[in-house]
Amino acid sequence: MTVPLSASLEDYLEAIFHVIREKGEVRPGDIAERLGVSGASVTGALRSLAGRNLITYTPYGEIGLTSAGRSAAGDVVRRHEVLRDFFVKVLAVEQSHADQAACRMEHSVSRDILEKFVRFVEFIDLCPRGGKLWLEGFSRKCDYGRDHGQCETCVSEAMEKVRKTAVSKEEGKRMKLRDLKPGERGKVSSIGPGTPAVRRMVEMGVTRGTLVEVERVAPLGDPVEIKVMGYHLSLRRDEAEGIEVERI
C-alpha cells in the first residue's frame, strides 16, 4: 500500500469484509445499513476503494474484494479483534462497549504497536506469572478493591504451572497447517473464516480435533497432499491459510 487509507475508508473495507463473510455477497445497501450512512456516500467510497484497486466494483455489478483488498481488510479486522480481545479478556470490559472502543481505536494504531500488543496478550496468556489466575486476580481487584497478601500461594501455583507447561510445550505446538512438513502430523485446533476452499475442506472432514498428516508435496512445491480420516486429500497452501494445527 502506498498511501494509507483514511479511517472512514477502512470502515467501509471492514464492512464489506464482514458482509461477504456473513452473506457470501455484498450490495451497497448492506454497507449503508451496517455503517448507518447514506447510499450516496457508499457509492463514493466504493469508487474510491475501486480506484485504489482494493475492490472490484461496477455500478449495479457485483462487489468483490481484490487480493490486496482482502489483505487490507484482514488487517483492519485483525486490529479490531486484537484490541477488542484485550479489552474483554484482560480488562474485563463488556463486549459491546469493547467493540465500540475498538472501532474508534483501530484506525490509529500502527502496525508496530499492534504487533507489540499481540505479543503482550500472548505473553500474559503464556507467562507462568500471568495467565488466567493472574487476570482473575486483577478483576477481583477491580470489583472489590481487595489487595490481599496471598502472594506465596500464588507464586507456588505459578511454579507448578511452569513445570507442567514445560512438558506440554514439548508435545503440542500450534502452527499453520500449510507449514506442516511431509511426515508431520497435527491435530486441527482452529478453523478460520469460511472461504469456499476452507468450507470445502471442512466438509471433506478437516474439522476441529481431526488428525491430519502431511503425506507429500507436489513436485513443483504446491499443492500438498494430506491424509485425513484414512484417505488422501490435496490442497493448495494458500487455501489452507486459515487452518491451524497442533503439531504432534
Binding site: R21, E22, K23, G24, E25, T56, G64, Q95, S190, I191, P193, G194, T195, P196, A197, V198, R199, R200, M201, V202, E203, M204, G205, T207, R208, G209, T210, E215, R216, V217, A218, P219, L220, G221, D222, P223, E225, M229, G230, Y231, H232, L233, S234, L235, R236, E239
Partner: protein, 710 residues
C-alpha cells in the same frame, strides 16, 4: 404398490457409483443434461419382478450445499422430483467421509438405502461393521456390494423395493448439534412456523439448519425480513460463542455424529498405513520422478491417439473416397450434375470430415477413461496445479491443453473433467491456440518453400511457442475480464489406485464419442453443405464453359504428344476460374481490403474460407486457386507458385494467421455444445479471428517497416 419406481443414485465421486449404475442398467442408458446447466443427467431403466425402475445417476458429490452446481442439482432433484428411493453408494473402505453425504440425505428425510460398495476392499483393509447398529443409526437398510463384480445388486434391488413399499419408517435419529446451535435452531423453526414460511416439501428443521449454514438457495426461499434478521443475529451469536462460522460448526457436528456411530459400530482390526496405493504414489508423485513420468504418460496417450489412430483415419478417408467415387460414378464422366456435386463434395465429404476424427476421439477417450478410472488423473492435476494456477487455470486444465496439440475437438471435450464453469470455459476458449495436427500440413508446405533448411526446425518451434504464449495471455485476459472470479479451490480427493474395468472404460468412452457424433455431426454437416454451396455457386457462365470446352477440343484436334497433360491443365484452369467466379472466390476478393494488411491476396482469402471447414483443406484450396491440381504438403509445384507470389514475411504471416484463427468449424460446434451456448462459441470464433488478424498484421506491417523479408 407402484409398478413404476424412480430410484436416484447418490454418492461421493470415486465411490464406484457409475459401476453400480452400469451394473444395474447395462446398455439401457440415456444421457442428457439437467435443464439450464451443463451437468450430465444419466438415466437408465430396469425391470425387477413386476416393477419397472427408472434409475437416475445423480452427479457425484461430497455434500449437498449450494456452492457447486452438481450438489445443487442433486439436492434439487431429491427435493423437487421426490424419487421413491435414494440409494447412497458408499465406499466402505472410506466410511467416515462417505457417511457425510448419507447424514445429509438422512436430514432431508428421504427414503434411503445405504449401499456399502467395495466391501471386499474394506474387508481387505481389516474393517468390519456392525451393520445392524449402523442401519439403526441411519434409519436405512444397508446392503453390501462389490460393484465391479456385480455382487449384491440383486439384494440392493430387493431392499430398494422394500423401502419404496414402506416409505420412511419410524423416527429417524436426529443429529444433535450441541446446546448453542440447537437453541438457535429452535428459535428459527418457531419463527418459520409463525411466519408461515415453509415451502411445500421442506422440513422446518432442515430449512433452519440450511439458513444457519448460510445457504444461498434456501435463503432465497425465505422472504420474511424478520427471519433474515434472526438468522443474521443467530449466526453472529454462534460465531461469538463457538469461535468459528456456524457452517463449520454444523459440519463438525455431523462428523461428530458419524464418528460416534462408527465408534460403536465399526471395527478396524489393523491400521494399514502404507497400502499399495501409497507405494505407487511415492513413485508417481515423487519430487524428482513425478514430472518426467507424467510427461512420459502423456506422450504415450498422444502416441496412442495419433499414431495408432492415423492408419484408421486413413482407412476411413479411403472408405469415404471410395463411396464418393461409387456415388459419383452413377453419373456419366464429366457430368456437371448439381446433385452429384452435392452428394459427393458436400454430403459425403462433409460427413467424412466428421467421421474421420472418430478413431482419434475413441482412442483418446479410451486413454482418458483408463487414466480417470485408475485414479491417475487426480495425480496429474496434483502435479500440474502449481503451473496452471499461475495462469489462472486449474491443475485439471493441463490435460485438455495438451490434447489440443493433437486435435482441438477432443481437447474441448476433455474439459469435462473440470468442475468449475469458469475454469472450464477459460480452458475451452484457449485450447484452440495449441497448434493442432491439422495445421501441420500448412507449416510443412510453407516453411520449406520460403526458408533455408537450418531455419525449418526453429521456425516450427517458434510457431508452437507463439501459440502457447498467446494461450497464456488469453487465459489471463479472460480470467480478468469476462471470466473474472476465484478459480475452483484445489480441495480434491486423491482416490486410491484401482484397476479400471473393461465395461466401465468402454461405456465411458462410448458416451463421449456418441455425443461428438450426434451433436457436433449435425452442425458440421450443415456447415459443410453451406461451404460446398459457397464454392459451387454461382456456377461458371456458359461463355466460360464454352471457352474451356473449345480449348479442349483444340488440343484433341491438334493431336499433341502431351495431350493428357495439356487437357489436365485446362481442367485446372477451369477449376480456378470456377472458384474465382463462386461466392467463395467473390468473398475472397471482397475480403481483400481486410486481409491486405496481413499481406494476403484474394487467393489466400478464398483458401481461408475453405480452411474454416478444416485447416487441412487450406492446402488443397491453395492447390485449386493456383491451378496445380491435387495438392498436398509435399507439392513442389505449389511451393514454386507460392514463392513467385509471396514474400517470406507474408508466408510467416499466413502461418501465424492459421495458427491463431479457429482451427475448424467442428471446434466451434463442439464449443457450442460443451458450453451450452452460442455466445461462447461465437466469442471463441470472433476472438480468435480478431486475435489472428492483429497478430498477423502486426508481424507483417512491422516486418515491412523494418524492411524485412521482401
Amino acid at each position: 404398490m407402484k409398478s413404476r419406481l424412480t430410484v436416484a443414485l447418490a454418492g461421493n465421486p470415486n465411490s464406484g457409483k457409475t459401476t453400480i449404475f452400469n451394473g444395474l442398467t447395462g446398455a439401457r442408458q440415456h444421457v442428457g443434461n439437467y435443464p439450464g446447466v451443463t451437468v450430465e443427467r444419466k438415466e437408465g431403466t430396469l425391470r425387477y419382478g413386476d416393477t419397472e425402475m427408472t434409475v437416475v445417476d445423480l452427479p457425484g458429490t461430497y455434500s449437498l450445499t449450494a456452492y457447486s452446481v452438481e450438489e445443487l442439482v442433486a439436492r434439487n432433484f431429491i427435493i423437487e422430483e421426490k424419487p421413491d428411493v435414494v440409494v447412497d453408494i458408499i465406499d466402505a473402505s472410506n466410511l467416515e467421509r462417505n457417511l457425510y453425504l448419507a447424514v445429509q440425505l438422512m436430514e432431508l428425510g428421504t427414503p434411503l438405502v445405504l449401499c456399502f460398495n467395495m466391501s471386499d476392499m474394506a474387508a481387505a483393509k481389516g474393517l468390519s461393521f456392525d451393520q445392524e447398529k449402523l442401519s439403526r443409526f441411519f434409519g436405512a437398510p444397508i446392503v453390501n456390494t462389490i460393484g465391479h463384480k456385480g455382487e449384491g445388486l440383486k439384494e440392493l434391488l430387493a431392499r430398494v423395493e422394500e423401502v419404496a413399499r414402506r416409505g420412511v419408517q419410524g423416527p429417524v435419529s436426529e443429529i444433535g448439534y450441541g446446546r448453542e446451535i440447537e437453541a438457535e435452531l429452535k428459535t428459527l423453526v418457531r419463527l418459520l412456523e409463525e411466519e408461515n414460511q415453509i415451502p411445500e416439501g421442506y422440513s422446518p428443521r432442515w430449512l433452519a439448519l440450511k439458513l444457519l449454514e448460510n445457504d444461498r438457495e434456501v435463503g432465497a426461499l425465505v422472504s420474511s425480513p424478520a427471519i433474515r434478521a434472526q438468522v443474521e443475529k443467530s449466526a453472529k451469536r454462534l460465531r461469538g460463542i463457538l469461535g468459528e462460522d456456524p457452517e463449520t460448526a454444523i459440519a463438525a457436528g455431523r462428523y461428530g455424529f458419524i464418528s460416534g456411530a462408527c465408534q460403536e459400530a465399526a471395527v478396524s482390526s489393523v491400521e494399514s498405513r502404507h497400502s499399495y496405493s501409497d507405494k505407487i504414489d511415492s513413485v508417481v508423485t515423487n519430487r524428482v520422478l513425478g514430472i518426467p513420468l507424467f510427461l512420459a504418460l502423456m506422450f504415450l496417450v498422444f502416441h496412442l491417439t495419433f499414431t495408432v489412430g492415423d492408419p484408421l483415419m486413413g482407412l476411413i478417408e479411403t472408405g469415404f473416397g471410395w463411396l464418393g467415387d461409387v456415388v459419383g460414378g452413377l453419373w456419366p464422366e464429366g457430368s456437371g450434375s448439381l446433385l452429384r456435386s452435392l452428394l459427393v463434395d458436400g454430403i459425403i465429404g462433409g460427413v467424412g470430415g466428421v467421421v474421420v476424427f472418430l478413431p482419434n476421439i475413441l482412442l483418446l477417450f479410451l486413454a482418458i477413461s483408463i487414466l480417470e478410472d485408475s485414479g491417475y488423473m487426480a495425480r496429474a492435476a496434483f502435479i500440474m496445479d502449481r503451473l496452471m494456477h499461475r495462469i489462472g487455470l486449474h491443475g485439471k486444465s493441463f490435460i485438455p491443453m495438451l490434447i489440443g496439440f493433437g486435435c482441438t475437438v477432443p481437447a474441448i471435450m476433455a474439459t469435462r473433467t473440470l468442475e468449475n464453469r469458469r475454469d472450464r470455459l477459460t480452458t475451452m476458449m484457449v485450447a484452440p491456440l495449441m497448434s493442432c495436427g491439422a495445421r501441420l500440413p500448412i507449416y510443412s508446405l510453407i516453411i520449406p518453400a520460403f526458408f533455408p533448411g537450418n531455419w525449418h526446425a526453429p521456425l516450427l518451434w517458434i510457431i508452437y511457442v507463439t501459440g502457447i504464449v498467446l494461450a497464456i495471455l488469453a487465459a489471463k485476459l479472460l480470467r480478468s475480464t469476462v471470466l473474472k472470479g476465484e478459480s475452483a479451490p484445489f480441495v480434491m480427493e486423491l482416490p486410491p489406485y484401482r484397476m479400471p474395468t473393461l465395461k466401465g472404460v468402454l461405456i465411458h468412452m462410448w458416451e463421449r464419442a456418441g455425443i461428438y457424433l450426434k451433436k457436433a455431426g449435425t452442425v458440421i454437416l450443415g456447415v459443410s453443405v453451406l461451404l460446398w454451396a459457397l464454392t459451387t455457386f454461382p456456377r461458371p457462365s456458359e461463355a466460360d464453359t464454352a471457352r474451356f470446352d473449345a480449348a479442349r477440343e483444340e488440343i484433341l484436334a491438334g493431336g499433341h504428344a502431351e495431350e493428357e497433360e495439356l487437357l489436365e491443365q485446362v481442367d485446372f484452369r477451369e477449376a480456378e476460374a470456377a472458384l474465382r467466379h463462386s461466392w467463395a472466390g467473390r468473398i475472397g476478393v471482397m475480403m481483400e481490403p481486410v486481409i491486405r494488411p496481413m499481406g494476403f491476396d484474394w487467393r489466400i482469402g478464398t483458401a481461408l474460407i475453405g480452411a474454416f471447414a478444416a485447416k487441412e483443406v487450406f492446402v488443397a484450396q491453395l492447390g485449386i486457386v493456383y491451378s496445380v491440381g491435387e495438392a498436398d504438403e509435399d507439392s513442389d509445384s505449389l511451393r514454386d507458385k507460392l514463392r513467385e507470389n509471396y514474400s517470406p514475411l507474408a508466408a510467416l504471416s499466413i502461418m501465424l494467421f492459421n495458427l491463431v484463427s479457429a482451427p475448424c468449424m467442428a471446434t466451434i460446434a463442439v464449443t457450442r455444445r460443451e458450453s451450452n451456448s452460442w455466445g461462447w462459441a461465437l466469442l471463441q470464433l470472433g476472438g480468435l479471428t480478431v486475435l489472428a488478424w492483429v497478430v498477423s498484421t502486426v508481424v507483417f506491417q512491422g516486418g515491412v517497416l523494418l524492411n524485412l523479408g521482401i
